[in-house]
Amino acid sequence: MEATIALLLDTANFTLALLLVTLGLVVIFGLMNVINMAHGEFFLIGAYVVVAVSNATGSFWLGLLLAPAVLAVVGLLVEWLIIRHIYHRFIDTILATWGLSLVIKQGVVVLFGPGAQIPAAVDVFGVQYPAYRLFIMALSAALALATYYLFFRTRLGLQIRGVIANRAMAASLGINTRRMDRATFAVGSALAGFAGAVMAPIMSVDPQMGVGFLIPSFLSVLVGGVNSLVGALIGSGVIGGATTIFSAGISQADAQILVFLLAMIIIRFLPNGITGGRK
C-alpha cells in the first residue's frame, strides 16, 4: 500500500515538473516556431539557482522564489541576444540554441564542478519529506493552471494566441508582436526554471539533468500534439506517468526503452499527436 502511494506521488510529481517544462517548450515553439534546444538547460539553471541560493543563505524557499525570476531574465536576454536575429531561420535556431545549451552546461561545470550537488537546505525543512512533496506538487499544479489561465482567459493570452494563429494579421491590427515574443520567451523560460527548482531537492542536481528532462519533454510534445497547450498536458501525463511507473519495476535504461516504444506506437497511429487526431 505504502509503496503504491509512493509510486503515485513520484508519478504525479515527475509529471507536473515535466508539464511545466513542456508548457514552456510548447508556447515558445507555438509562438515563434523556435525549437529551443537550450530549454533543458533553463531547467538546469533553475536547479542550480536553488543549490547556490540555499548554500549561500540556507533558505531553499528563497531559491525556489528566485529561480523563475532569474530564468525570466535569462529568457529575455537569450531572446534579445540570439533568437530575435534568427527566428525566421528554423534550422539555425536549433543549432544556435543547441550551442547555447553546451555553453550553459560547461559554464555550470566550471562554476559548480561536474559532480552532483545537494542543496544544503533540503535536510532542514523541519517537515516530513512527503509533506514537502505534496506542497511542491500543489504549487506546480497551481502554476500550470495559472499558465492555462494566462493563455486562455486573459487579454494578453488572447493576443499571444492571435499571434500564434496569424502573426502577420495580428501585427496589422496593431499588436506588437515583438513584445509578445519577449513576454512568451520569458514566461516559457521561467516555467522551466521553476520546474528545475522544484525538482532540485528530489533528483540528482548535475550538469546532465537538463538533457534528462528535455528528451521526455520533447516526447511529451510529440505525443500530445505540437501547438496545443492541452496536448502538453496529455503528453506530459502519458510520458511522465509511463516513465515513473516503468522505472518502478525495471531498470532505468529498460524503462527508457519502453517509454520510447510507447511514444513510437502512439505517433505511428496518431502522427499529429493525441490532440492532433488521425491523419
Binding site: R155, L158, A165, A171, L173, I175, R178
Partner: protein, 235 residues
Amino acid sequence: MLAVENLVAGYPSGGSVLKGVTFDVAKGEVVALLGRNGMGKTTLMRALAGQLAKQSGSFRLDGRDLGGSPSYAIANAGIGYVPQGREIFKDFTVEENLLMGVLGKPNLPKRLPGDIYDFFPILGERRKQKAGTMSGGQQQQLAIMRCLVGQPKLVLLDEPSEGIQPSIVDEIGRTLQTIARSTGLTILVVEQNLDFVETLAGRALFMENGVIADRADHIGELRDKPELVHRYLSI
C-alpha cells in the same frame, strides 16, 4: 492624407512587383484601385500595411513617413487593413476577433464600444460563435468591423466581395458607404466587382505592371468611358 511616392516593393526572392507607384488620397475620399490580376494591387496593399518591406520610395500618412515601419506601428499610426481572404481568427469567437482590433491600440480602451454591432447586426447575434463557422459574407463583415473598431484614419480594403453571395455584397457596400459618409472615413479599395465600386468609390486608379497607369477622376467615367474599363480590366 495618404501620399505614396515612387514606391518600389516586392518579394525578397522575386524582385520588385511595384515599380514606382505614386498617388495621393485625400481625407474622406473613397478611392478604388482597379486592374487585372497580377498587376500589383494586392502587393501595393500589403506594402502599405507593412507586410512587405519597401525597396525604395516612400508613403506618408498625414505627413508621417511610414515606409519601413513594422506593420504594428503602421496599424497604430492609423492605417487599417482588411486583407484579401479576410484572415479572421477562425478559432476565436466573433467577440474575441473584434477585441483583437483594439487590444494592440495604445490609445483605445481595451473593450468593445457598445454600438459595435449596429452596422452588422448579425455579428451581434453570433458574438459567442466561433468565427470560422460563419459564412464567407459574415466573416467579411467581421473582418471589416475588426478593422473599424481600431478607429483607423485610412482603411485598406482588399477584394471585399470576393467569394461572397451578391445580396451580402450589396449590404456590405451600402453599410460601408453609410460609415464613410457619416464618419468621413478614408478608404482605398481593391475590387473586381464594378457595381460595388460604383456604389462605394468616388474615383478610381488603374494599375498595370506595377505602376498607376491611368485614373478616372470621377467614378461615373467607368460608364462614360468604356475604353478605360476595356483597356485595364478586360481579359
